[in-house]
Structure formats: C-alpha cells, structure tokens
Symmetry: C4
C-alpha cells in the first residue's frame, strides 16, 4: 500500500502539520542526551500526524528520526515521514531501524500520538532481569499509576516488538513498557508526553533500583496509588 | 480569607521585597537541575516575604514556582505569590502542586524563610525504604547535626504533608526531612539556605548509600557530632 | 627500521591522508570526555593511514594522541605520527605511552583501521575482576555479537599488552577486549568505529553491572544473538 | 609570629610568584566541579610560594580559597594568602575553614607544593567505612604505587587533621590519604599535581568500589605494582 503515494497526495493541513512535527520531533531528540537516556545514535522519538478526513486513523502518518544520524546532526529537515505500515513516505535518510515498532503501535493504539524508545541504563537493567518496576514512589503513582510492566522478549525483523508493546500496554495504566533484554518504549498523547514518560521511567527505574540495593522499599497501599494517579491525571490536569 | 486581597493592598516595602524574591527564587531554581536534583518540571523552591507590620507572621507571603513550567522557561515574572493559606495572590500560572506543603511549613515555623522540595535520587531512595540517613560523615555533622530523619507517609490533597514535615523537623536539628515514599523537603533562613540544604541532603544521601553498599560505616561519637555542629553553625558562622 | 625516514619520504596521497587523520583523531578525542570515558589526560584514539603501494600493510602509519596533553589542548597539529613498530615519525610531543599496544594491533590485524583505549569506569571494573561481560542485551548482541571478553594481565614496557589484545580479539566477534586490571581496548574499521565501540562497551558494561546488582539477567538464546548480530552488521549495514 | 607582617615585607620575586599562584589556584578550583569532586562551596586547593632566601621553608607562604565563596565567584583576586602557621596575610575574605590542615602539611612536608581537599563521593564512602582502597588497577599502581591509605578520625579545631595527614602520607607512596569519616586530602609538587591526584583518587575509588560490588577484584603482584610505579614516576617522567 501507499507505494505510489507521496506527501503531496495528502491534504494541505496535514502537510503543514508534518512540518510542525518535524520541528517538534527534532527538538525533542535533544532531550534524550540531555537527560542521559541515550548514547551515540541510539534512541528515537516519533509523533503521529492525523489525517483530517479519515477518522479510523488508517491514513495517519508519523514523523521519526532517521537511522544512524548523530544527535549533533539532527535537524527538522533530516527527520523522515512514514505511513502506518512503516514505509518511508518522505525523507533523505532511511527511517530508524525501530520504525516498525513505532508504526505497529500507532496502527493498533489510535489514541497514541507519540512514541519514544531508548536504552536508558536503569530501565534497561530491569528489562535485562525481566522484572516489573514496583510502584513504591508517589511520583511513580502519579505518572504510571502502578508498576512499570515488563514486555516479552522479541527481536527486530517482524512485528513481534510492536505486538509485545501493544499487548503489554493494553493491560496497564503505565505509559512505559520494558521490553525484555532490550529497553523501554513509552507512549503519550503527543511526542512531548512520550518523552516525559521516558524521562520519568528512567528516573523511577534508577530511584527504585537504588532503594532496593540496601533493603526493601515500603509498599504503597493500592488505594493510595489509585488516588494519586486519579488526582494527577484528572484533577491536577497533567 | 484574602479573597478580595491583591498584592496592591500590601505595604510598598513588602511589594518591593516580593520583586526581589521573584528574582532570587527564579535564579535558585536553576541550581536544582545543575546539581541533578530534579528532572523535567519536578522540584520547587519558595521564599517567605515578611509583613513589616504584622509580627506574628500571619500576613506574610511567599513566592513559589508555577506548576508544570519547564526549567528553561522559568523567569522572575512567571513565579507566583501566595498567602500562607496557600492561595494564589498574584501570578499568571497556577502555583506548584506542592504549594500547600510550603504554606503549612511557613505558617507553623515562623523562623523558616525558605523551603525546597525535590525528588533527588538518593534521598528519595532512603525515603522509599523509610530509613533515616545515619550521621557518619563530618560534613553531615556540620550541616545536619545528626541523622536526616524520615517523615510519615502522606499524600497530596490536604495538609498531611505539611503536618508531617513540621512534626518531624521540630524533633530534629536537621534542616531536611525525607517524606516516606516521596522525597526530601528542606528548610532554611531563606531560599538559598534551603537550596544548600537540598544539595547537601542529596550529597550525604549518596555518599552514605555508597559507603553502606560494601559494609558498615564507622559511627561518629555523638559528642563529636555536637561539637562539629556547634562550631559550623555558630563559631564558623555559616 | 625507519630510523632515517621522515614523513616526506611517503607518497603525497598518504601525506594528505595523514592530515585528514590528524583532524579526525583530534576531533574524536573530544568524544571521550563527552561520554565520560576518561578523566584528566587518560585515554587515546588512533587511526591507521594505509600505504597506497604496499599491500601487506607493513609501511602503513598511524596518527595518535601525544603523551600527557590535556584534552583542552588537543589540536590536529599536536597529534603525532608513528610507524607500525611504534616509533615516532613526526610530532612535537612524545606519543602516548600506550602507543606500543596500538602499533602491535595495527601490525598484526591488517583489517583494523582504528584503535581506542580508555579506563572507562564500568568496563574497567569488570576488568579488575577478570570477568567477561555476558551478552544479555539486544544492543550488545547487535554491536558485540556475544560476550565482551577478558584479556590477560600484562604490563606496559614490551609487546605483552599488544599480544594480549590481538590474541583475545582473534577468538571473538567483539570489537572490545577488557585487559585484566587495566581497561578496555577497542578496534574498528576506522577511528570513529573504534570510538563507537568504546562508547558502547562502557554502556553495556554499566547496564549489565546494574542488572546484576539485583539478581540474574535473563540469558539470550545464542541463535537469537547470532541473528541480531548478523542483521545489524550486514543487513542493517552499520 | 607574622602579626605585624604584610605581603609587602616579602621579596618582590615572591610577591610576583604570589600573583601567579593566585591565578593558578583560582583556575584549578574550576577543575573540582568539572570532575564532580565538590558541590556548593565545598573543597579547596592551595599552592605553596617558596621564600627565595630562607631555605628551611619556614618563611614560605601559600595561596588558598576563601571561605564560603561560590565556585562561580572565585577569581584570582578573591584568593587569600597565608603564612605557614595558617594565619591570613592578605585577602578580603577569611581563608577556607580547612586552612589549618593545609598549613600543617606545608610546614611538615617541605617537598609538598600543593594540597587539595574534597569530599568526593566514592573516596569519602571508603573513608566512612575506614578502609584503604586496595591497589587492583594498573592506573592505581602508576599513580599511587599501592593502596590509598586511610587516616585517623580527627575533627577541625586544632592540628589533629594536619597531623593525621602527615603521619599517614609519610608511611605511603600514595599522594592521597582518606581521612576517616571525612574525605580525601591529596598532595603534589604543585597545586596542579595535587588536583590531578584528587581526580585520580576519586576515579580509582569509584572503579574499585564498582568492581567490588559484584565480587573480588584480582590482586596485582606487588612486584608488578613496584615496576609500574617506578616506570610511571621515573622513566615515563610524569
């Protein structure tokens, strides 16, 4: 599908939105090294651009980082545009090698507007052991509403990473999943929210790790977790 | 109370002091990411502005960070001004979601001129386990005069965080309290002193954690702790 | 050998390549403190310059960091040029004290175009215990194709470090070896690839260390490691 | 002694040297936060200025950081000049509260030209447990010639810290001592060498700590340590 299509065949409002998303996604990539979530060319951020006339989302696009480009060289122009089957629609570089996982997530979770993948150190360490991060911090209750869940082991090359992400996130309130032996994927209403989730995921992965090094953290009563999550997401309006 | 009041109803000298406090509090927020005490929009600094004519402190104000604004966007103008019951008096944004805890502390500890809250990693890890940080470093004796105490578990929404802070700090020489499963709150004679306490709290939380990872730190004789604290606070004049 | 030779006795194209390598090697040294792989003057990067007319590589040269110069003072001009027996051919400073190990590697591994040595913290910690880093992360399968192997204990002064590097790397797909009680050496098709291997070596050394602190990482099936390595090196074209 | 003396009573060449030392010591303080050895106003660097006519060193001076000044505000002019009994000779601020320990070291170790004190995290953690750092890294053999020794517990107020530093360093080849429950002091032929020792002390404290977290580092044969130290200090000419 989309083999003959180009960006010009999409509505003008959507093409304008692609331009804004190129800038936003390029800017947000700078947050990944700033918060020490990535080294070298690792990590990627994407943002969905919705089709204004096709409500089922099937004609949406997303803007993502190109493959193997240094963080110093990322510009709005170097970002690439893909269709939801993960095919390149526009861009001078190949899309990130993780594009299929982003695409699968957008295709199967229409509410998701942004996706981030990193190998951030502490989150990836939990992923290497195949363990959920338990919810023992109030900031974790606020942001994740419970544990950050572990996803299945899956390797690149087909849609198994995407399926693992979607299946795990559908069972959880958490916007982050730790793919086993691999690293975290996070989602949000837009790319900025997914980047925030990636930053907070590493922050709580590190803090709970350090807490566990010298003993057992105190559990938080599940009703308190619900109350904190409810307030932060709804009342507080984040 | 204060429903009809505006900043204009306060004495001119106090309004001038509010302006200076806006600058000081905005500047001090930059110290939090510099010392890696916060990520994203977490953390907040406030400073009391004393009413020149009402000696009991009940008409004091405080300047605090707005809610959910990025550290890159914090300016003196974006800071907000609150009364001691935690109500917004002046500001374009909503006050930090931790404002009630700051307000309670100012209301019940008239000697306190600055309050800081962070989720700094090592201090929050001790808080997750519900453990005091033992005083095994001379710099900790200097600054804290003993262990850094753990406070109760309390969640946002009423004055239970404020009550926990005040009750714990009144029993201790420490200007820092670790609220259980949450993170540190620190106080000082002004906002700068409270920021210094937040920096030193994380520094000793990290150093004592690392010391304990490979065995037991040597205790310091309590009379030596008293002597170091006395000298640093009084003779040395910090 | 080469005692009377100067850089002028080499072909012009090779002298031009030496100039480009001076710039590249100087620039790449800035990546070592950026990724926190070195402190003070520690660490060194080198790049081979191939002789266009002598196919066996015996007349190749390499450009390397001078000894004891601060990272702030490294310029293309301060880099030094050596022959494959480790002798200085051109340069105002003495070559790095690790030059013999670089030279031995270039002499015995003609496919290697770049070498990096650091004392990066986590990799050196594995080296101090004399342990291979097990391959429990997909990014490690991609980059290293298996464990990062430990090399022998060898001290500076003869070719024993070089022999240890070459003997260990020949038995492995990994571009990194951890020399016992010493630190990592990495290789690549050029200096940039060797720097990337040094960055990734520390990244996986840190992540696997942190994973092991709280339990056992889940092993990855060797056929999956082979598949990931094959794809990343060949299909994906890194 | 020196009560009536001013800097003007010293030879002109010595006063010129004081000016150079002010610049050097101010510049070197910037290395302490750069290498994350200090927070807030902690840490201090000093350098001896030798009297050209009094060979026994008793009339030497030293330049040191003022007390309680922020790292952002340290300038050559803000540095202070002291006599070897620790009294202020020239300066607008009070000398660092650690001045007595620096003075005692200069007075009793005439070969020492620079002293540095920090509370760097990992070195201070070893100090809190009262443990020597074992020599299990070749870079540690190079720089320290063996373990980094622990010094006695001593508190500020008399010359007990200075005595502990001098007594411990005289029994060791190490230019660093870990004062128990306090932190490292390092020495060198000048302030730059003492700063390098402070940087390397933290580096090896961190690396050996991390090595020990997952098992026992392999010991290095003492004759190899001797050989590495001999070469690095003499042949290699550091």
């Amino acid at each position: 599908m989309n083999q003959q299509r180009t960006l010009e065949s999409y509505p003008q409002s959507m093409r304008d939105e692609v331009q804004r998303a190129r800038q936003e996604v390029a800017d947000l990539h700078a947050e990944l090294p700033r918060y020490e979530l990535v080294v070298w060319t690792a990590g990627n951020v994407s943002q969905r651009v919705r089709h204004p006339e096709v409500a089922d989302g099937s004609q949406d696009l997303f803007v993502i980082k190109p493959s193997g480009v240094s963080y110093d060289d990322l510009t709005p122009e170097s970002m690439v545009v893909c269709t939801l089957d993960g095919q390149l629609l526009e861009g001078e570089h190949a899309p990130s090698s993780d594009t299929a996982a982003h695409a699968y997530t957008y295709e199967h979770m229409p509410e998701v507007g942004g996706v981030v993948h990193t190998h951030s150190t502490y989150a990836t360490a939990w992923a290497a052991r195949g363990e959920d991060i338990p919810c023992v911090l109030t900031m974790m209750a606020d942001e994740f509403g419970g544990p950050i869940p572990i996803g299945p082991f899956a390797i690149i090359g087909d849609d198994s990473i995407g399926r693992g992400i979607v299946a795990t996130l559908r069972e959880s309130r958490s916007p982050a999943v730790l793919m086993a032996n691999h690293g975290p994927f996070t989602i949000g209403k837009d790319a900025r929210a997914a980047v925030k989730a990636a930053v907070m995921c590493e922050e709580v992965a590190r803090t709970v790790h350090i807490a566990q090094q010298l003993g057992d953290p105190q559990p938080i009563d599940p009703t308190k977790i619900d109350s904190l999550y409810e307030r932060y997401q709804n009342v507080y309006g984040q």
